[in-house]
């Protein structure tokens, strides 16, 4: 079950989207997310959906793979949709005990669900098509101006990229710990939510301890390889804008304009 979490993992294939500058993809994701909140009608979703389909096709990523990554979000999504459904006042369609379902509620919930799903889909497209290292340098240069305010931009970017690199390793470790605990009779599957949450404690503690140990070893290895922060560091893959980035930006601006003016 834990293996299925694919969110935030690089999908190594060759494509135009993969070759885009990480800054384009990062700013583009922000622009896409903004555009999602600019429209109020069904047509907007069609436009945004068409955009996502185009990008996914261009990126040569099987849509199934991305959808699988969305699965862990499903619970949150349903939860929020149900809340919106029941909390929106308006023209009443049905009533049951203390719950009332309104026409506005149905639409609001549907839109909200779609928006969130699109949002996660769009941002995972970024991480699927950009290696953590590129993403780091992209974010680093996008937020570079914050250095004036003494924000440790490089260090933060490095932390993010390391976190991404260690997700699969820690997942594997979690699986191992779970199996080890199960072998000694631990039960993670039965009982109510409270009992199940409590059963997670013997997994989390060893995981925490080992993460700290890993962090220590990694820091040592980085130091041994002359890492000393962002100063005086050169880049193996320096960022350079190409024509395709211009085209991407134009497409994104087109999307935003489209979202504003759509009926």
């Amino acid at each position: 079950m834990l293996r299925d979490i694919t969110i935030g993992q690089y999908y190594p294939v060759e494509s135009v989207i993969h070759r885009l500058d990480p800054r384009t993809k990062f700013l583009g994701t922000i622009m896409f997310v903004v555009s999602l909140f600019l429209f109020k009608s069904f047509w907007g979703f069609l436009l945004a959906g068409a955009f996502l389909v185009t990008v996914t096709t261009l990126a040569h990523i099987p849509p199934k793979y991305i959808l699988k990554g969305l699965r862990p979000m499903l619970f949150l999504l349903l939860f929020m949709m149900i809340f919106t459904l029941l909390m929106t006042p308006g023209e009443v369609i049905g009533e049951w005990w203390i719950f009332t379902v309104t026409k506005e509620g149905i639409f609001a919930a549907l839109f909200m669900g779609l928006r969130l799903a699109f949002l996660v889909f769009g941002s995972s497209l970024m991480t699927y098509t950009t290696t953590p290292n590129k993403l780091t340098s992209g974010m680093e240069s996008c937020f570079g101006f914050l250095k004036i305010f003494k924000v440790p931009v490089h260090e933060l970017a490095m932390m993010v990229s390391i976190a991404l690199r260690f997700i699969p390793i820690l997942l594997e470790e979690t699986n191992k710990i779970m199996k080890a605990q199960q072998a000694r009779g631990a039960d993670f599957e039965s009982g109510g939510p409270v009992k199940r949450a409590k059963a997670m404690v013997p997994i989390l503690i060893p995981l925490f301890v080992s993460s700290f140990r890993r962090a220590g070893e990694l820091a040592e290895a980085m130091e041994a390889r002359c890492y000393h922060g962002g100063d005086g560091r050169t880049k193996m893959k320096p960022l350079k804008y190409h024509l395709r980035d211009l085209i991407a930006y134009l497409a994104l601006i087109g999307l935003i304009v489209g979202c504003i003016f759509i009926p």
Partner: protein, 279 residues
């Protein structure tokens, strides 16, 4: 190349008020002299101080007493730090915890990036390093999909890309399967022979040190024995005292000799053993 002058290192444990609770002498007046191009092996059981010694060569630790010189540079001097770490690369035990990037080639480029190598040269160095460890085919793959031995070779390439003169390997094979172990040992032997890189291999697998020029045996923070592998493996009894095992063939030959079968002292490989037995 690497010079230890009466190096002592103490792990000091303090209680909450900062008073000294206990002192653990991990290294005790160690003298060591490694020449350029040597293949040195340091053997020792757990807690013998061998990893502490390794960390001194890379200036990750500095001696409590005595001095470590890397090509005349004192490891205690802050200004020498980057130069020393570039000259003496270090490979650690756990392959997962020393790979920083999510793509093989980016990880190999991490070291050169840190020491400010121009972009074009980084690419040349990465290509060279991956070629040397035989991992060119995997340059765009994720390290997570590699075997332990392959990951360790990537780690070696990451060091190699910094153009070191010496590579220190701290139990690089401890977490690998036999195949991965062989890959790693073959790779470092070749680097030593063909590129003239000084190798300092720290291990507790005796079979891995057979190819070394000189072997040091450590126990309780002291160098107890030193010499060529042949000289070391003669001391079967002593090695056992230091909680080390000699290679299987050597052990068999030793026991047969003790039973009065005329075999030469210290046999290191199966082939050697077969030849002697046939005679």
């Amino acid at each position: 190349m690497v010079n230890f002058d009466k190096v002592t290192f103490e792990y000091i444990r303090r209680d909450e008020e900062g008073n000294v609770e206990s002192i653990n002498k991990a290294l005790n007046e160690i003298d060591l002299d490694v020449k350029k191009g040597d293949f040195i092996a340091i053997l020792g059981a757990n807690g013998s101080g061998k990893s502490t010694l390794a960390r001194h060569i890379n200036a990750l630790l500095t001696p409590t007493e005595g001095t470590v010189f890397i090509e005349e540079m004192d490891t205690k001097e802050e200004d020498n730090l980057l130069k020393i770490r570039q000259k003496t690369g270090m490979v650690f035990q756990n392959p997962d915890n020393q790979i920083i990037a999510g793509i093989v080639e980016e990880d190999v480029g991490f070291g050169p990036e840190n020491i400010g190598v121009p972009t074009k040269e980084i690419w040349e160095r990465v290509a060279f390093a991956l070629e040397k460890v035989g991992m060119t085919a995997y340059r765009e793959k994720s390290p997570n999909n590699l075997s332990g031995g392959q990951k360790q070779r990537v780690a070696i390439a990451g060091i190699l890309a910094m153009k070191p003169e010496c590579i220190v390997l701290d139990e690089p094979t401890a977490m690998l399967d036999p195949k991965g172990r062989r890959e790693v040992i073959e790779t470092i032997t070749e680097l030593n022979k063909k590129e003239g890189i000084t190798i300092i291999l720290i291990t507790h697998y005796m079979t891995e040190v057979v190819g070394a020029d000189k072997v040091y045996v450590m126990s309780e923070g002291n160098v107890k024995l030193s010499g060529t592998p042949r000289e070391i493996f003669k001391e079967v009894e002593l090695l056992k005292e230091y909680k080390l095992d000699v290679p299987q063939v050597t052990e068999i030959a030793y026991r047969l000799r003790k039973e009065g079968i005329p075999l030469p002292e210290c046999i290191l490989t199966v082939d050697e053993f077969m030849q002697c037995v046939r005679r």
